[in-house]
Amino acid sequence: MTITKNQIKTHGLKINEYEKIKELLGRDANLLELGIFSAMWNEHCSYKSSKIHLKRLPTRSSIVIQGPGENAGVIDIGDDDAIVFKIESHNHPSFIEPYQGAATGVGGILRDVFTMGARPIALMNSIHFGSPQNKKTQNLLSGVVSGIGGYGNSVGIPTVGGETKFNSTYNENILVNAMAIGHANKNKIFYSKAKGLNKSVVYVGSKTGRDGIHGATMASAEFDENSEEKKPTVQVGDPFTEKLLLEACLELMKDNSIISIQDMGAAGLTSSSVEMASKGKLGIELNLNKVPCRENNMTPYEMMLSESQERMLIILDDKKEVEAKKIFDKWDLDFVVIGKTTNTNRLVLNFDNQKVADIPIAALSDEAPLYDRKWTKVKLSKNKIKIKDLKKIKIEDALIKILSSPNHSNKSWITDQYDQVVMCDTVQKSGGDSAVIRIHDKDKAIAISVDSSANYCKADPKSGGKQIVCENWRNLISVGAKPLAITNCLNFGNPEKPKIMGEFVECINGIKEACEFLNFPVVSGNVSFYNETNSKSISPTPVIGGIGVFNNIKKILNIKTKKPGNLILAIGKTLGHIEQSAFLKENFSISDGPPPEVNLTNEKNNGLAVLKLIKENFVLSAHDISSGGMLVALAEMSMASKLGLKIYKPKKLINSIEYFFGEDQGRYLLEIDKTNLKKIESSLKKSNIFFEVIAEIQNDMFEIEKTFSIKVNDLYNHNNKWYHGFNAVN
């Protein structure tokens, strides 16, 4: 039987790619082999369009134990503690089936973390939906949120925050990015590289079913009006089995019986076995009759391409099988030796006593196509918004409009569906600049923040790329943590189009520049291309998940103002950059012009100065200034504590609107005690940091001198309205 053109196409491969397959095999492939190639060579698994650019990102620093290329990144947080973390997309499945798509996104990222020997300690996410007016949005929002909660709550890992955004660019392609963070002993990290000949290859976890076949291929193509038909490619999650698998794996990891371990994620049994063998420069031979199947009469093709969840592949030390099996028996999970490592450097599959596939491992991994795709520079808009037209609007009305908009509304409707405190180590839940999780049984903690700024990236991908890294850095600093490293999830359109590829390349360049400057390496990540429907692409949306560390659990800050009479200090210069601001978008539906400039030197100096003030115990609460500008940040601090603020009028020759709503970067708000002002001033002057005293905390009323005054409680009500109205049961 020869492979037809149509079969090549339905497997998401190009004709020239199949020619290369024939060359590598020295013959025609059979259908099973074609399926295996398609699973390994698709964009999702091979990174064929992104690899050459990702290589430019900085991935090392003194605290990096494991950078990209493993199941997750690993960093050293002192003593014997390591943090294992990664963010990953599950965009395509979540659009087709929001509950299961989001749930299995969470399940997959959790496995990436516990595969490495870490106990997951927190989950975060970044979810993007279409316009609230789009008729699909409500259902997608509700399904995705239930799915994220349903999985994390059941496994018993706190979901401590993230971000939710709405923009018509995601009408037909939502984004669901999930991040998992785990804690491990740095001397007991487990890797996926196979070692040793004739070692048992063990299948553990759930049985293999017919769900998710070709899931990774589906996620490597655009959508069209028939996308609904792709529902069978969405996997079904079982958080209960995940919890058992987690406990069983961690129990097995207590001794030294595991040589290597890999979860069966995208492209299931195929990619897990190929990756282990490829990293170990070995071959692998499997007897598919041994694979535990959920359904009868499953074919080798279905077994190899199924993306059934909650499964792992382990290469086990000799003679440890009996002990290992006992652990999996205790947890009522399958434990079956399905093959062995070989010296052939080939993937050999047997079924019913016949060899059904025989492929060189290198053909599936090292020889996978790699593209340096054409890209074009993005045209930047230089338009300046004429402020004259905008003066008519009252500051108070503009503020309320922003606070009650979908993108700035309080998200408790979402976060109340997530168990944020299970495991009893959550120091700070969602709603602040970063979530804070204590390291169990220790006096230290980590901060986690997830950020994106698609509007900025669309206007200027390079500057936007820099900006998100900086915003993430700032969010970690605002709670008092020292930023250590990031993971990224790069969500883009079709890379075969030079314009999209240009957005990607320039975003990477921006991320690279900022990460290098801030010594903030990228240790793991994921690329999601083809977020496109009928040739309409999403805005470029790189998402950054950052980790910071506290060595003293008593110095954790939040955004709640503490005491009337205290002052608010703004660190960093306010120039009033209004283009691409939330102010223009929410009040005038304008998104034009360049995003705010990112000055990395200022960013770094301001951040380090804030950390120094925090260390010296001068800071009582803190908040970074981001979307919405200074006034929105001040309102958020007020609403968190229910204390008011008296805000001074700007002394400089700057328009009030630009001053209060401009989105200049590198700025922080700090609450300080009046009596410390002199000391702080001299310290900041010495290090050449720009600052101004902008407000004083008072009871009840949120006001700008001689401009307006509103009860904090009223602001709070405006901020808490939208979600409940939008999701009211009709």
Partner: protein
């Protein structure tokens, strides 16, 4: 004081409650569901989580597990038993407590800090609190909407068998202060002998001042009394 925490596949608050117990010097053992014998204990805790994935019905499968028959025997002999969240659901499913826990009236999983008012301290579990004291505790459940028949409800109300009701900061107990639709704002109930307590809020999540208020401590302190 000796305590035993029962661990089912899918339990996920077992460690949290064990830490709270050990903090208060309980000598605690973790008991795997496949065990057939319980060590001698002054307190048995059935913890929160999703035992057996909550498949079939929350708590239904756990109620049939090996160790549960031992728990039932101990309970009938007067041992103190505390069921938290999924543990409450299990105690209902196995018949140690009466009534039913339905799906939340809002049809969503709810996890947040709520307030409850202590209705009665005349029992082993709440004697360190004052009657009418308002406590901040955390809830995290999908099926916490307690329901029972009229006769049983009267029994509960008339015999101080409802130790906690959901309220607001002023202590008002009404529909507005009811997070899940629970009848009469019930957050916890006793059996007739008051040796078995089922509660939806998690006291073990409120015992560490680095993380939260410490309103849950009183319950564990009461049990030491």
């Amino acid at each position: 004081m000796k305590s035993s925490v029962i661990v089912f596949p899918g339990s996920n608050c077992d460690r949290d409650v064990a830490i709270a117990l050990e903090k208060l010097q309980f000598k605690n053992s973790m008991i795997w569901h496949k065990e057939t014998e319980l060590p001698k204990s002054d307190l048995i805790v059935v913890p929160g989580g999703f035992s057996y994935g909550d498949y079939l019905r929350s708590g239904a499968i756990a109620a049939k597990s090996n160790i549960l028959s031992e728990v039932i025997n101990a309970g009938k002999k007067g041992a103190l038993i505390l069921g938290i969240c999924n543990g409450f659901q299990i105690l209902i499913e196995c018949g140690l407590l009466k009534g039913a826990l339905l799906r939340n009236s809002g049809l969503k999983f709810i996890s947040k800090n709520i307030l409850v008012k202590v209705q009665s301290n005349n029992n082993k579990f709440f004697n360190k609190y004052k009657t009418n004291e308002i406590l901040k505790l955390n809830i995290a459940h999908n099926e916490g909407n307690y329901f029972t028949d009229k006769k049983h409800l009267e029994e509960l109300e008339n015999n101080e068998l409802i130790p906690l009701k959901y309220c607001d900061e002023k202590g008002n107990i009404n529909l507005k202060t009811n997070p899940n639709g629970s009848i009469n704002n019930i957050a916890a109930i006793f059996n007739n002998n008051k040796n078995i307590l089922g509660m939806m809020p998690h006291p073990e999540r409120m015992v560490d001042k680095i993380l939260s208020e410490e309103d849950g401590l009183g319950l564990f302190l009461s049990l030491m009394n």
